[in-house]
Symmetry: C2
Amino acid sequence: MRATIREVAEHAGVAPCTVSRVLNGHDAEHMRPETKERILTSIRELDYTPVKAAQRLRRQRTHAVGIVVPDITNLYFALLIRGVESIVFDRGFTSLICDSSHDPRREARYLDMLLAEDAEGVLLVPSGRVDMSAVERLAARGVRIMLVDRRVGGFPVVEANNRGASRALGEHLLRLGYRRLAYISGPAEVSTAEDRLRGFRDALDAAGATFVTIRRGAFTFESGFDAARHVLRHEKVDAIVAANDLMAFGVLRAVEEEGLSVPRDIGVAGFDHVPHVPYATFLRPELTTVDVPVHEMGCEAARRLLDGADGSLQLATHLVPGGTCVVQRRTE
Amino acid sequence: MRATIREVAEHAGVAPCTVSRVLNGHDAEHMRPETKERILTSIRELDYTPVKAAQRLRRQRTHAVGIVVPDITNLYFALLIRGVESIVFDRGFTSLICDSSHDPRREARYLDMLLAEDAEGVLLVPSGRVDMSAVERLAARGVRIMLVDRRVGGFPVVEANNRGASRALGEHLLRLGYRRLAYISGPAEVSTAEDRLRGFRDALDAAGATFVTIRRGAFTFESGFDAARHVLRHEKVDAIVAANDLMAFGVLRAVEEEGLSVPRDIGVAGFDHVPHVPYATFLRPELTTVDVPVHEMGCEAARRLLDGADGSLQLATHLVPGGTCVVQRRTE
DNA sequence: GTGAAAGCGCTAACAC
DNA sequence: GTGTTAGCGCTTTCAC
């Protein structure tokens, strides 16, 4: 039923290896054009496609890479995947997209699956509590590992300059006159959360200021909402800064529910800038945040993985001032 | 460096096929427990994992399935993928997730890639203008094709009862007293768009009513916004119904920009119910819409594909009344 | 310029 | 109960 390379060879009156040569472009220098033509015709007539499994077995290469993200339904990671895929696919590699759903056990199972599939490289956005042994298993087999967005262990990473950007955001808010700041951070295990907190603190330190309060969320809308409500009910602050936009949206919701108004009564800032979310267009005023080039991060990580580049890379980010933070009239 | 089955066999003092038997559970009845034990130990000690390419070649089965969606950054399709993956992965299959990005050419390339990978089945959410020849190429090779969410050609499909649900939505609005309705439909090539329009029309027909106007959007926020603004500026309507929630959000935005208020001045309804979008929580009042069990659709499609079930399936949906449509005081 | 032959790692039919 | 053998479809020396 399905044609093999031998059948193509017979049909064209040549040996299998000659067909193979055509298929793989090893005919560059020395091959009679008419032979090549005959073979190409046979391939077309028999509707021949090589069996990948046989190629992989023989070549001892799979041309497959894995990409593991914590949550495929999160636009941030979906854009990352798009970036990766745009490079990987166009280079003729197959990518195995895996969604760990924030579950370290599931994540480990996917990593083992990638090992079984003989992925040549793996791009990993680690969940909060990665099973490093699964990662080590891959590395031990010589699989190239590249972390994306979040650091963990000693593996090379492509990430944003979270600390620097967060510091710039902090300086921005201080410049606008905000002084009583609450910070809603992300999970302690996630490097982006820690870097953003540290960066903002850098700004405060330089100005001799401190946070009124710091709370920890889970990078989700709900956790931002909960944390903000708690802050608003127990502290006197003039701005709330969240470690990502999703939580910042939760903050805005809480501010509204508490009967306050942004930016009149309180300033709000986020981090991420995933404004591609159409719903976010509803926001008035627009959120003060930091743009993270997540698609570019995916592209760059894929490029480095395929090119065999070692070492880490930090991508530049930039401040996106929005109407949720404005110049404060000092009321004292 | 990497252990093969032969090395495991030698290490355990058995023949390769015996190792294979253990690996594949063909040891059920008759195998000396100690032999099995010895083999398992060797496997562990040598850190052996079978080479998938060799297995696939020998077994003539890939245990791989493809899933092609038009837009991985759209939460709707991300949830669909999750549903599919939850079934496929747990059954020991590998899924190849492909994002056609609404581009029929890219879509065709992915379908050809799935052919080259010898996917045993393909779940396809066709883009607006699918290249059916690429689909036929797969089918001709005996690859099982199952459409999801959208119909096209004569292939079996797992979809929602869009027409029935839309009719119910129409009846709901009529019952509330809305009479001057504008409808913002989706792309004509997409079956969901057509079904929803037809269903709503069913309701109007039964009541002897007609649309004030029908416009066509692209299922995007922006197109919903544009269409609604046009309607609001040129027609006198008491409600605008969009063929999906994304466009409905655009409608709400347009209504706000035109200085009108929902539901006081105008009713708004959508279709999809992807309220999992945290940002949507901002919406006050909540959107009147129809719940489409998209995750379940993914699961069911995957199950049917793997179980070899033929024929189509329609999943039930249900109306989600929201504050954007309320009882109208007839003002005449 | 092209062909013959070997073998990638695995499994299954058939021996014993 | 376990081993021997052949072969899945392909690529790549090495001949000539």
